[in-house]
């Protein structure tokens, strides 16, 4: 029973480190870091810190409002909080620009009342996008913390007549203090490897991230040594942060699926207006981009050529494969050291990982024949940190509770997974699978390097449409991609929630 996690751990380490080392060795020497690279490093860290900070600060009032108000549609709102995070980046940027862009509804409204227009390009645009993706995630984490405050403690505070600031300090701050560092860490790491977003909304070379520097070193300078070196800096930053949060996080607020039935608490009777404003603003901010994307491209979706639908089918297949693979690894690695190892994938540059795999596979067989498989493996590796974060805490407590029983009745590893682990972990597995499937669906990733026309995926088709001036069809393909990503997420989640 011990051997399986060790083998899985070894495989993941190999999957992450071997490609990096292969690239490094192939390159022999890379050129040293230029001032531009240092600027990229600086900007990457600054925007990640700010993105994480703003996401956390904004998430507090929204989570607080959702925790203590019950209103019609509340559970729908909470479910939809999962949507921005899994939205393919290119689709999200389209939606954000339709709302906040020069020509977006915000500026149209400002113009109507004669106010000067606002431009989001620059650091603010990067932050806007990152907050859009990650604020809902943090909201969910805090929300769970809020709901988990024991009712005895609430009653105690009530009977002591604690109000306002005093109640915040006694009841809410300790919970936030527990959850926020871990939430901050997660968002920080996610934003570290952000690439496409930072570029389109960043407004210029000021907003260059490490990932772009890697891309440049790889594609333009073909300086693989430098690409690998930059990738290692990024990995070290992210890996270090990830490990700190793994070890620092006491209780894991990320543990439960999106599905947990939150019960409204009687935390407060005042603050109705603030809560109403927080929830309304959050719904508008998070919902409008979706409305705009669907409104823009939804009509043309059934006019898309059949090749786009085939590509969609291929993307679904990749998503299924990646999800199964990722879950197999995650179930084997769902323990503390496993999570540390699994975190290695969190910020490895897909380009470097892809070229490494390419160099490793090429002596054996033609990598292009295996493009889809490689894509699946890479998606699984890149999703693994999130999935472990979700599964690990519950998997460990299941193991603690039932392993003796399992051993006396002689359940082998396979029987354990089948009869105990999967049924007991159903909800978090559903959530994690949904996340992986949706992220894999929207991932363009290394398919660009390994792309073959027979194997184009939906995101690649989207880029091809854009690359051949067919922007309207690209919008329709974006709606299709959005539908598939959210659909995949919803189906997996539903499986997790449905009773066996």
């Amino acid at each position: 029973m011990k051997a399986i996690p060790v083998i899985a751990g070894g495989l993941v380490v190999m999957l992450v480190l071997f490609p990096l080392i292969t690239v490094w060795r192939w390159a022999e020497t890379g050129s040293s870091f230029s001032p531009a690279d240092w600027a990229a490093l600086r900007f990457t860290v600054i925007q990640s810190v700010l993105s994480a900070g703003v996401s956390c600060v904004l998430a507090i009032p929204v989570a607080r409002a959702l925790a203590r108000r019950s209103f019609w549609g509340r559970s729908v709102v909470i479910t939809l909080l999962g949507a921005p995070f899994i939205l393919p980046v290119i689709v999200a940027v389209m939606g954000l620009l339709a709302v906040f862009g020069q020509n977006g509804i915000l500026n149209t409204m400002l113009a109507a009342i004669g106010a000067p227009s606002v431009s989001i390009y620059g650091l603010s645009g990067v932050l806007l996008a990152h907050v859009f993706f990650n604020m809902p995630l943090v909201t969910r984490m805090i929300l769970q913390g809020w709901v988990a405050i024991p009712s005895e403690r609430l009653r105690l505070a009530e009977s002591l007549g604690l109000r306002g600031w005093a109640r915040f300090r006694v009841l809410e701050w300790p919970m936030l203090y527990n959850i926020l560092p871990s939430a901050f860490g997660i968002v920080f790491v996610i934003c570290l490897s952000s690439f496409a977003v930072a570029l389109t909304l960043g407004g210029g070379p000021r907003a260059t991230t490490l990932e772009l520097a890697i891309y440049q070193a790889f594609r333009f300078d073909f300086d693989l040594g430098k690409a690998a070196a930059l990738a290692m800096v990024q990995l070290a930053l992210a890996g270090g942060t990830a490990m700190i949060t793994v070890f620092a996080a006491g209780k894991d607020p990320f543990a439960k699926g999106l599905d947990s039935a939150f019960s409204a608490t009687t935390l407060a009777h005042d603050g109705r207006i603030i809560d109403g404003v927080a929830i309304t603003l959050a719904i508008i901010f998070l919902g409008m981009p979706f409305v705009m994307i669907v409104g823009h491209g939804g009509g043309a979706i059934f006019d898309l050529p059949s090749s786009v639908w085939w590509a969609a089918g291929r993307s679904i297949a990749i998503a299924v494969g990646s999800t199964v693979l990722c879950l197999v690894f995650a179930l084997a690695l769902a323990r503390r050291w496993g999570e540390v190892i699994g975190s290695a994938g969190i910020a490895i540059s897909p380009l470097v990982l892809g070229s490494g795999l390419f160099l490793m596979i090429r002596p054996i067989t033609n990598p292009f024949d295996w493009a889809l498989v490689i894509t699946m493996v890479m998606n699984a590796t890149l999703s693994l940190p999130f999935v472990l974060r979700i599964l690990r805490p519950q998997a460990e407590s299941i193991r603690a509770e039932y392993q003796h029983l399992a051993r006396t009745i002689g359940l082998g590893p396979m029987a354990w997974v089948r009869w105990v682990l999967i049924p007991r972990l159903r909800r978090p597995i559903g959530f994690a699978a949904g996340l992986t499937a949706a992220l894999s669906m929207g991932d363009l990733g290394v398919i660009v390097l390994f792309g073959t026309s027979d194997h184009a995926t939906l995101p690649l088709k989207l880029y091809q449409l854009m690359g051949s001036y067919r922007m309207d069809q690209a919008s329709a393909a974006a709606v299709l991609l959005l539908t598939l990503s959210l659909g995949a997420f919803w189906i997996c989640e539903y499986w997790g929630r449905k009773d066996a």
Partner: protein
């Protein structure tokens, strides 16, 4: 015959030695102060803990290195005896097979074990839908199905009310006599021992002592145990 030879175990700075002894089929209460190592002793028999040294034998077979499932031991835990997501029927079936399909023979065995412990008709219930007493019965049914000559119970009925507990103790006793099993039961209640266990094993002072008559142990306990029982040691 369950025999111990120079058994020593230790983990996290906690040491426990087992006196050399051989246990005939009978019911033994395992008694001793809290934290003395009663559960540890059972874990060693069940195979959850490794020994530092020594041997444990069943008749002539050395089981020191065997895995829990390969030992002639069935165990009832304090809690987590049943998987909460599975029906009682499936929970019991897992003691016989890990396949989904259940043969007619297995089905008969499961149903008769459930009837024997008084759970007939509750096959499709999940653990959460039955009472605490019924959960204990289900755990005993599982041990019955495993059909092992040694049964160990780790404070199995601590959560039950007095009447229910006595009912369960009597059931354990009946089953043990029906099958001629060797039963070891950890309990913190001397009355449990008096009710069903002719002999008791004292665990105290880092030592598992050889079995003695239960009534003798309880009437003249050694000092460390007496303190636990709340008796003034008779000097």
């Amino acid at each position: 015959m369950l025999s111990f030879e120079s058994v020593k175990m230790g983990f996290d700075g906690f040491d426990l030695s087992v006196a050399d002894m051989a246990l005939d089929p009978n019911i033994y209460a395992v008694l001793g102060p809290s934290g003395a190592g009663k559960s540890t002793f059972l874990s060693v028999i069940a195979g959850f803990l490794r020994l530092k040294s020594g041997f444990i034998r069943w008749n002539t077979t050395d089981m020191t290195k065997s895995s829990p499932a390969d030992r002639p031991v069935g165990m009832v835990f304090q809690d987590h005896n049943l998987f909460p997501h599975l029906t009682l029927y499936r929970n019991l079936a897992l003691a016989l097979t890990h396949r989904r399909r259940i043969t007619d023979d297995q089905d008969r065995a499961i149903r008769s074990a459930m009837d024997r412990v008084g759970l007939g008709g509750l096959e499709t219930r999940k653990p959460a839908a039955i009472s605490g007493g019924q959960q204990s019965r289900a755990a005993l049914a599982r041990v019955l199905l495993q059909n092992r000559p040694i049964t160990i119970l780790d404070e199995p009925f601590a959560a039950l009310g007095p009447a229910l507990k006595n009912e369960m103790l009597d059931l354990v006793s009946e089953l043990a006599h029906e099958r001629g099993n060797t039963v070891l039961m950890v309990t913190h209640d001397p009355n449990d021992a008096r009710r069903i266990a002719p002999k008791s094993i004292l665990v105290a002072d880092h030592m598992v002592h050889p079995p003695v008559e239960t009534k003798d142990l309880l009437s003249s306990p050694p000092p460390s145990f007496a303190e636990y029982l709340g008796q003034v040691p008779n000097s």
